[in-house]
Amino acid sequence: MSTQAARIAKGKEDAEKIFPMVKEKFPDAVLEESMPAKNADPFLVIEPASLHEVCEYLKNESELNFNLLHTVSTADFLGGDDEEGRIEVTYFLDSTEHVHRLNLKVKLPREGGSVPSVCDLWQTANWHEREAFDLMGVHFEGHPNLVRILCAEDWEGHPLRKDYVIPESFHGIKNIVY
């Protein structure tokens, strides 16, 4: 087996071990288990409101000990005729002790949705959530300082939204679109 295949197999193996544990503890919070047959990564879809308690369990349970939050990633889906638009916030967790990983996903409506901040569990989330707010407009409840981080303070809109319109000028500086 090649190294790449071994790594993918390890990810699946972790998911098969950890998904049932979370599901048993929080039967109502787990909305969906995505175990793709091929190369895509497995995901566990969590109800937004109970994200914090699930994370608290994942971090403090000694058998899991997810002490490293790798990143918080976001993606915007406009939706179409048959499906509603949504914003997906994905948390990539890692354990330095057990060397296993877990991908948590939260699905939010495009407007007005919010998700509890996990800043108090992992400080990594602080800047990552600020970035998600800045570029994608996701609101994190309970974040200590939810302000823009990469764009200018008075920037308007959230650039990574799929329906974002590039402004014609910013403080009198004309924007040239090629």
Partner: protein, 398 residues
């Protein structure tokens, strides 16, 4: 009025200055100090607002984003292959590893196995680039703390690596060498010989020279040992990775723990901070991990050059038509600064739906504010601390 001191300007100057201070009038005042965005020791455009009391730092506030070039937004508008040059420009000091992370993420989506020879070439190129990056970190760290000579020595050797890269792919910094499906040019016998010559020259003589020059220099040790200590738990909580995490004594290296490419075929050590000078997790520990890593990288290159097979260096058919099926992956690799992750979402077209890069420097530098408010840090120490993370602002802001 109490006379508290007498100062002589110089022993040859006869005039005597007498300082008269009323002890009751002694007071200190807090001051806001702006450091950056244009400041040589911030390694780019990084701004820190420091609240000081005399020379002691009370609080800092980091501001980033001055170098934001919309990497993620641009990636949604160009095809999979055209994203590769933009990954170069994130961490421009070890662009090879940036290329590798992205290429492997897309290959994972496509279920593509690259040719054996390409895997070995990738390892050699990445580890060579890691040495170049650590050489710069070593030299510039000395420069930050007032030692100019080590910088010149480090750049002398880094130049040799850049010359090899120039021969390999025509570029010195932004290589775009590792692509989806393989690498862009073959590593010829001549280049392999150049690398062999470089390694024979570099290790162990040059590394010894570096240790004599800077690592065990008394002034350097007193500037860095016991300064900016990060305990293990705090380091993990803030998402520190790479040499910054290993400096705190955590033995975590993706090349060993979750091998990618073909790293599981090589024999190498993972150096961690052991408190040889000062405490585990101080600036000196983070620094020495990098110096030791250069030696380990050289070992990996030697093994890869010994075993490199013949054959194709790129899967031409696959690289001409990069159109992964629907799906999403997260792939992380061990960069020179820490763990670099790519979250790639594909909607089945030849343009990525979303590319998110997890930059190691972005997480590493986020700990600075917490360190400044916790520890008894002095103004001169903040330069030592920022330098010890070896940040690249191109990667922080993307």
């Amino acid at each position: 009025m109490n006379r508290v001191g007498e100062f002589h300007v110089h022993k040859n100057v006869r005039k005597r200055f007498v300082v008269m201070i009323n002890a009751g009038d002694l007071r200190t005042e807090e001051m806001l100090l702006n450091m950056g965005p244009q400041h040589p020791s911030t390694h780019g455009v990084f701004r820190v607002v420091i609240r000081t009391d005399g020379e002691m730092i009370l609080e800092t506030e980091s501001h980033i984003g001055y170098l934001h070039r919309c990497f993620e937004k641009i990636s949604e508008n160009v095809n999979y292959m055209q994203v590769v040059p933009y990954t170069d420009r994130m961490d421009y000091l070890c662009a090879m590893i940036n290329n590798l992370g992205y290429a492997e993420a897309v290959e994972k989506l496509m279920e593509l196995e690259v040719p054996e020879r390409a895997k070995y070439i990738r390892i050699i190129a990445c580890e060579l680039n890691r040495i170049a990056s650590h050489l710069l970190a070593f030299g510039v760290y000395g420069l930050d703390l007032g030692a100019i000579t080590p910088f010149l020595h480090a750049f002398r050797d880094r130049e040799k690596i850049l010359k090899i890269f120039e021969k390999l792919c025509g570029q010195r910094l932004n290589y775009t060498y590792i692509r989806v499906g393989g690498v862009s040019f073959d590593m010829t016998e001549e280049i392999l010989q150049d690398i062999q010559d470089f390694l024979d020259y570099f290790e162990p003589d040059v590394l010894d020279e570096f240790n004599r020059l800077l690592s065990y220099n008394g002034i350097f040790i007193s500037r860095t040992a016991n300064v900016g200590i990060i305990p293990e738990e705090m380091a993990i909580n803030y998402g520190l990775t790479g040499p910054s995490l290993r400096g705190s004594g955590v033995k975590r290296d993706l090349r060993k723990d979750e091998p990618y490419c073909i790293y599981d075929r090589f024999d190498f050590e993972v150096p961690v901070g052991d408190g040889e000078q000062g405490t585990v997790g101080d600036c000196w520990s983070r620094y020495i991990v990098r110096v030791k890593e250069m030696y380990e990288s050289a070992q990996i290159i030697r093994q890869a050059m010994r075993d490199i097979p013949g054959g194709a260096f790129i899967d031409k058919k696959a690289s001409n038509k990069v159109k992964p099926p629907k799906g999403e992956v997260y792939h992380k690799v061990e960069g020179a600064r820490g763990e670099l992750g790519y979250h790639v979402i594909s909607d089945g077209t030849d343009v990525p739906y979303r590319v998110k890069a997890r930059a190691p420097s972005f997480c590493n530098i986020s700990i600075l504010d917490a360190m400044a408010s916790d520890a008894n840090m002095m103004l001169a120490d903040i330069v030592a601390v920022i330098g010890s993370f070896d940040i690249v602002m191109g990667e922080v802001d993307r």
